[in-house]
């Protein structure tokens, strides 16, 4: 898989890497048990500090997104297997808290927030469909 890091984005590179791996796992681009590149290979591919990749992998492992087999490498975890229901819902709660804070600061109405969540979760991306129809 091809990763991109953008120095000069103002976001730490290990965070950029975590975002991309998380997204690739969530969208199925990286299926469960798929092997991730070794720290050294990825460091050379991206010309970044190996410690940065170690950190991204460690944090993702803590989150249950990936797992490491000693001497064999790093692999994509199965979505549900690594976390208990309590941990799962706890983490969802944290994400909702972040969403709530952001929405509060943006002064969104409850209706706007719910509509945005519904749209994302149910995959009803209306704007895209509309754009597509216009072009056709």
């Amino acid at each position: 898989m091809w990763f991109r890091v953008e120095p000069g984005r103002g976001v730490p590179i290990y965070v950029q890497l975590m975002e991309q791996i998380r997204r690739a796992v969530a969208s199925g681009v990286l299926p469960p048990d798929e092997q991730l590149p070794s720290v050294r290979d990825l460091a050379l591919q991206l010309s970044i500090n190996p410690n940065t990749i170690v950190r991204a992998y460690q944090e993702l492992e803590r989150e249950g997104v990936i797992y490491t087999l000693r001497g064999r490498g790093t692999f994509v975890a199965k979505p549900a297997s690594t976390l208990s229901d309590r941990d799962r819902l706890g983490r969802l709660d944290e994400a909702v808290e972040k969403l709530f804070l952001e929405a509060y600061h943006l002064r969104c109405t409850p209706g706007e927030v719910l509509a945005a969540v519904k749209k994302r979760v149910l995959g009803q991306d209306r704007e895209k469909t509309d754009d597509g129809e216009e072009i056709n």
Partner: protein, 305 residues
């Protein structure tokens, strides 16, 4: 010496040339196995710092420990375990790359010729090329190869990317990756290429006017330094510049721009509670942060004095 000693430790290090203070009270600590980038405007004292570490200059006061050794009294031992690429190269121009390599090899008891050859291949430095005919960029690359040949524990690179095109700069970064990935070497670089530094550095230090004004983990620095754009319909709180984390308050067209160092959540909470109509948190790049810290005035509160 133990493995726990930092790769580099200076305490109250100062250097005065004639009456000009070039370096003042430098306290620098570089842990083992990391890449530390020393950043600073021209004339800030970066090269002087490096020369002091290598005992090419004598400190006016203060102490230097390199890999647990005394930088002055044990400088011979230090030099054996340190690789150094200088900012400008003074090689014997009529020698060939291969001859120069053999000479450097003869100076060291340990030498990894296989690795040196591999780097020469990557940088396109043929053994029969005359040193005097190499471009400035190629000379820097040659100096890099010669600096790593004896597998030093600490690699000191003074502006390694100067005058190199993007491809060569990526190759130089990959040389650093290779050097640290295997044996966990420590790398100390001075550089102006801030995007390269963002790729490779664990820690950064800002040297301004001979003083170290900041030394931090790069990830923490990017997470900590933010700008917040805020609009107040009424008068802003008078004590805003005194709020925790607020380094500086700038006026903008319709609002204020806060330069924050940490305390983001707290400041956002207080803004929400003090009538701010809208605000926006802006990430900063290493370059933004560097300019902020190196750009002269740092604190409005002190400016009027």
């Amino acid at each position: 010496m133990t493995v726990n000693d930092p790769a580099l430790l200076t305490q109250k290090l100062s250097k005065v040339f004639r009456r000009r203070t070039v370096l003042e009270g430098l306290d620098l600590e570089v842990p083992r196995g990391c890449v530390y980038a020393l950043l600073g405007p021209n004339g800030a004292g970066k090269t002087t710092t490096i020369k002091l570490i290598l005992n090419l200059l004598r400190p006016t006061s203060g102490t230097i420990r390199v890999l647990g050794l005394d930088g002055v009294a044990q400088s011979q031992s230090v030099r054996r375990r340190v690789g150094y690429q200088a900012e400008t190269q003074r090689f014997y121009k009529r020698a060939s790359v291969g001859e120069l390599m053999r000479f450097c090899r003869s100076l060291h008891s340990r030498w990894n010729q296989e690795r040196a050859d591999r780097y020469c291949g990557m940088f396109e430095l043929p053994a029969n090329a005359r040193v005097g005919e190499l471009s400035k960029g190629k000379l820097t690359l040659l100096a890099l190869v010669l600096a790593v040949g004896h597998e030093p524990d600490l690699l000191i690179l003074d502006e390694p990317a100067t005058g190199l095109d993007p491809l060569r700069r990526r190759q130089v970064l990959n040389l650093m990756v290779e050097e640290m990935a295997g044996e966990g070497r420590t790398i100390f670089i001075s550089s102006h290429q801030l995007q390269d530094v963002e790729r490779i550095a664990d820690r950064v230090g800002f040297l301004v006017g001979g003083r170290l004004v900041l030394s931090s983990s790069l990830d923490q620095l990017l997470a900590r330094e933010k700008k917040v754009r805020v609009i107040f319909p009424g008068p802003p709180p008078e004590d805003l510049p005194e709020w925790p984390g607020v380094r500086r308050v700038e006026r903008e067209e319709s609002g204020l721009l806060l330069n924050l160092s940490g305390h983001l959540d707290e400041v956002l909470g207080r803004l929400a509670g003090s009538g701010a109509a809208a605000f926006e948190v802006l990430d900063q790049t290493l370059e933004d942060i560097f300019v902020e810290y190196a750009g002269g005035s740092v604190d409005l509160r002190e400016e009027g004095r």
